[in-house]
Structure formats: structure tokens, C-alpha cells
């Protein structure tokens, strides 16, 4: 195999066109084993199309995809037996009960942790005898998560898993990914989660890629990102200066007040602001969600 590497997911120059629309347009991605990787983008940015290419549900128009170093189109079974996928919309056979659905899923898997199944059914208060057609949206997602965690796959791919769920269910969902999924061999349990509800996953994510218009615009370690982006608020005795600070994004400006985002050059920006003797000057890190917003929707740069 010419594509052996430690990466669990690898995409290079991935392109997927629908007619004349480029849904994914030259995406590069590399996810190492044991990582909790965030894949952030707006609706229509190309997240789901990318995931479908990873899973061989869609054929890429161009570029390469490797999972566990294998081409998912040529080694479909070998790849799929090592991962589990929770899509944003989950459908089950409506005539099956919760228990029958899980048995059905388990029949495709070489390994199934019955103890985890029992524990999670109890934790989610799901009735094994209930028909899946009678489940709420939250309960369907919980069932899909149980079906994804029990085979203890090396890779868990979540596509907008918590959108449309109530806050309690969302919390339980994330706690289950952290607890039940990551329980054994954390170094070999990789999570790849696409979402625009970034703050929910803030603590879980240790590396992320922001995708916009089918391309990756930013890839960073979460801790590095929080150290790099700073929001600066300044209040001046008179009208706020309109220029004279190092390159920074201008967030808001009103009379004597100014809000800027510095990317890696906060010290320099602060020095320039101090020249205007501000009454107040505060600095705070950006959350991952704020970093997402200022990356995908940048304001004008001021110099």
C-alpha cells in the first residue's frame, strides 16, 4: 500500500461537484489517531458532502481520500468495519423495536459491547420494546449513538449530531461520546465531528478545521487557537482613534469605545493603543465559536 500513514482520515485536494456547483473544492484534511477533531462550517459549506466522500457514499470528482490509509472505494468493508457514523438525520426501520434495531446493527459487526448497550439504554431511559417509529427525534439520535458506540470502532464520525435536540439531550450526547466511547484505549478512539454548534463541543475538540465554500480556511489546535486570537476592548477619554494600530480586525466602534480582534499580534496592537492613553484596556481570548465567526465572516482590517 502506497498510502500508509498514522492518519485516520486523510483527504488531499478533495473535489466534489454537483452539476456546476462545487460543493467541495480542493479540501485538505489530516486527522491523527486518538484526536477529537472538529469540522466547522456554515450550512452549505461542504461538511456533509466531505463526510459522504469519506464514507464512500459519494464518489469524489477529484482528489484523494484515505481512511486508515485505505481507499474507501476499494476497501469499503475493511474501512467501514472500523468506523461508525451518526448522521444529522437518522432513520430506522419503523416496524422494528429498539431492541430489534440494535440486534440488527450488531449482526453486521464482529464485536458488540452488550454491557455498554445495557448501560446506555438505561442512562437514556429508552424502552427496548418501543417501536422506533414512536421515538422522538432526541431518542432516535440516542439510539443511533448507542448503535455507533457499542461496536467500539476506532473512528466515530458525527455529522451535526446535536442540531435540533434539546439542551439536556445534547449534554448527554456529548457526555456519552466522552465517557462510553472514549473509555477503552483512548489513544485509538478518534472522533470526527462536524457541527456549527461549536460552543457545545468546545471542551471536547483538540484540533479543528474550518471549511468555507468547500475549502479549508483554517486548521489549528484548539489550545493554540485560544492563545492566538484575542479580543481587545479599549475606552478612550475622547473620540476613539480610527487608525494607528497594527493590523487588527475592527469588530465595533462607537464614540470613545473600540473593539478589535488581534491575531497573534495582541502585544503590538496594545502598545499602539496605549499611545492614545486609554481609560480602560482589556484583553480576552476568543472562544472557538468566535474564532469561527471572525474567520468565515471577517470584518474590515484596520491598520
Amino acid at each position: 500500500m502506497s498510502h500508509q500513514s498514522d492518519a485516520v482520515i486523510e483527504a488531499s485536494g478533495l473535489v466534489r461537484r454537483y452539476g456546476r456547483t462545487d460543493a467541495v473544492n480542493g479540501l485538505d484534511l489530516k486527522v491523527g489517531a486518538g484526536r477529537c477533531y472538529g469540522f466547522f462550517g456554515r450550512n452549505g459549506a461542504g461538511k456533509t458532502t466531505t463526510i459522504k466522500c469519506l464514507l464512500n457514499l459519494l464518489r469524489p470528482t477529484g482528489g484523494e481520500v484515505r481512511l486508515f490509509g485505505l481507499d474507501p472505494a476499494r476497501h469499503e468493508v475493511a474501512v467501514k468495519s472500523r468506523l461508525a457514523y451518526v448522521p444529522d438525520y437518522v432513520a430506522f426501520y419503523p416496524w422494528m423495536s429498539v431492541r430489534e434495531t440494535l440486534e440488527y446493527f450488531a449482526s453486521f459487526r464482529p464485536h458488540w459491547n452488550r454491557e455498554t448497550q445495557r448501560a446506555l439504554l438505561g442512562q437514556f431511559r429508552l424502552d427496548p420494546g418501543q417501536k422506533t417509529s414512536h421515538l422522538s427525534k432526541g431518542q432516535r439520535t440516542q439510539l443511533a449513538l448507542i448503535a455507533a458506540v457499542c461496536p467500539e470502532p476506532e473512528l466515530l464520525i458525527l455529522d451535526e449530531p446535536t442540531s435540533g435536540l434539546d439542551p439536556i439531550v445534547r449534554r448527554e450526547f456529548i457526555q456519552t461520546v466522552i465517557g462510553a466511547y472514549q473509555e477503552g484505549e483512548p489513544g485509538r478512539r478518534t472522533v470526527f465531528v462536524s457541527t456549527h454548534l461549536i460552543s457545545e463541543f468546545e471542551g471536547l475538540i483538540d484540533e479543528f478545521t474550518i471549511i468555507d465554500e468547500g475549502r479549508n480556511v483554517l486548521t489549528l489546535e484548539a489550545d493554540a487557537a485560544r492563545g492566538r486570537y484575542q479580543k481587545i476592548h479599549a475606552r478612550f477619554p475622547a473620540e476613539a482613534p480610527a487608525s494607528g494600530f497594527a493590523a487588527a480586525q475592527l469588530l465595533r466602534r462607537s464614540g470613545r469605545e473600540l473593539e478589535l480582534i488581534a491575531e497573534g499580534n495582541a502585544a503590538e496592537v496594545l502598545d499602539r493603543l496605549r499611545v492614545h492613553s486609554p481609560d480602560a484596556l482589556t484583553v480576552e481570548a476568543l472562544t472557538l465559536e468566535e474564532i469561527f465567526v471572525c474567520t468565515v465572516q471577517p470584518r474590515g482590517l484596520v491598520a
Binding site: I174, P186, G203, L204, Q230, A285
Partner: protein
């Protein structure tokens, strides 16, 4: 002990956990021999990656603040730094420099600064003593 995370602090999450355990041990709100929460329950409670908690505990162990007992978990140790006195002084001096810089910009004079340092030192000692008696 209860941990609190602040994603706007600009400080790596694992370091926030490390600093909170260190502060709790210094002020006596956790005492030597007390267990820390297990990695999984703490990760679930804070909804953070369990690698983050594991990294924090590894760092605390390297600094001699906690010890891991196989099969039992992590426990706060008797105050015992693994570093030589020379290194300990250097580490403390580096942090004190930050306080001196801050004091300069806040126009706090030398004598006032030293009095404040003593006051803070005593405050922690008091809290520790009270915690031990309780």
C-alpha cells in the same frame, strides 16, 4: 473538588485544571491524601476531552503535587516538590516578576508591595491551618 473552566481565559484547558488543583492544595481546600475525581467522571462533568484531564493529571504528577496509585486513582500528595532548591527559587522568581511588573504599573511602592506579599502569604497559610483543623 469542583473545577471551573473559562474558555475566554486564553489559557490551555489542561493548565486551568492544573492551576486549580495547585491553588486548592495551597489553600487547604484539598488536603494531602484526598482523592481527585477519576478521569472519566471529571471529563464527563466538564464535557472536556478525557485526554485533557489525563494531561492535567500527568502534569500534576510530574510536579509532585499528586500521585497515582494503580487501581485506586489520583491522590493529593504531601507538599513535596521534586525540584532542587535552586530550580524552585528560579520558578518562583519568574512568577514574582509578573507581580512586580503589575505592581509597577499600578503604582504600588516597594514597602507596600512587600506588605501585601506577606499578607497574601499569611492568608493562604491561615486558610490551610483552618482547613486542617476542621
Amino acid at each position: 473538588m469542583l473545577f471551573r473552566l473559562n474558555y475566554k481565559a486564553g489559557k490551555a484547558v489542561y493548565l486551568q485544571l492544573v492551576d486549580q488543583v495547585k491553588a486548592a492544595a495551597a489553600s487547604g481546600s484539598v488536603q494531602s491524601g484526598e482523592p481527585l475525581p477519576g478521569i472519566r467522571p471529571l471529563a464527563e462533568e466538564l464535557r472536556v476531552n478525557r485526554n485533557t484531564v489525563a494531561k492535567a493529571y500527568a502534569e500534576l504528577e510530574a510536579q509532585g503535587i499528586i500521585e497515582t496509585i494503580a487501581g485506586k486513582g489520583c491522590f493529593v500528595r504531601e507538599n513535596h516538590s521534586p525540584y532542587k532548591k535552586e530550580v524552585r527559587r528560579k520558578l518562583a522568581a519568574a512568577t514574582m516578576d509578573d507581580a512586580v511588573v503589575q505592581a509597577h504599573h499600578l503604582q504600588i511602592e516597594r514597602t507596600e508591595f512587600l506588605r501585601l506579599a506577606e499578607e497574601r502569604f499569611d492568608a493562604f497559610q491561615d486558610r490551610r491551618t483552618r482547613a486542617e483543623r476542621a
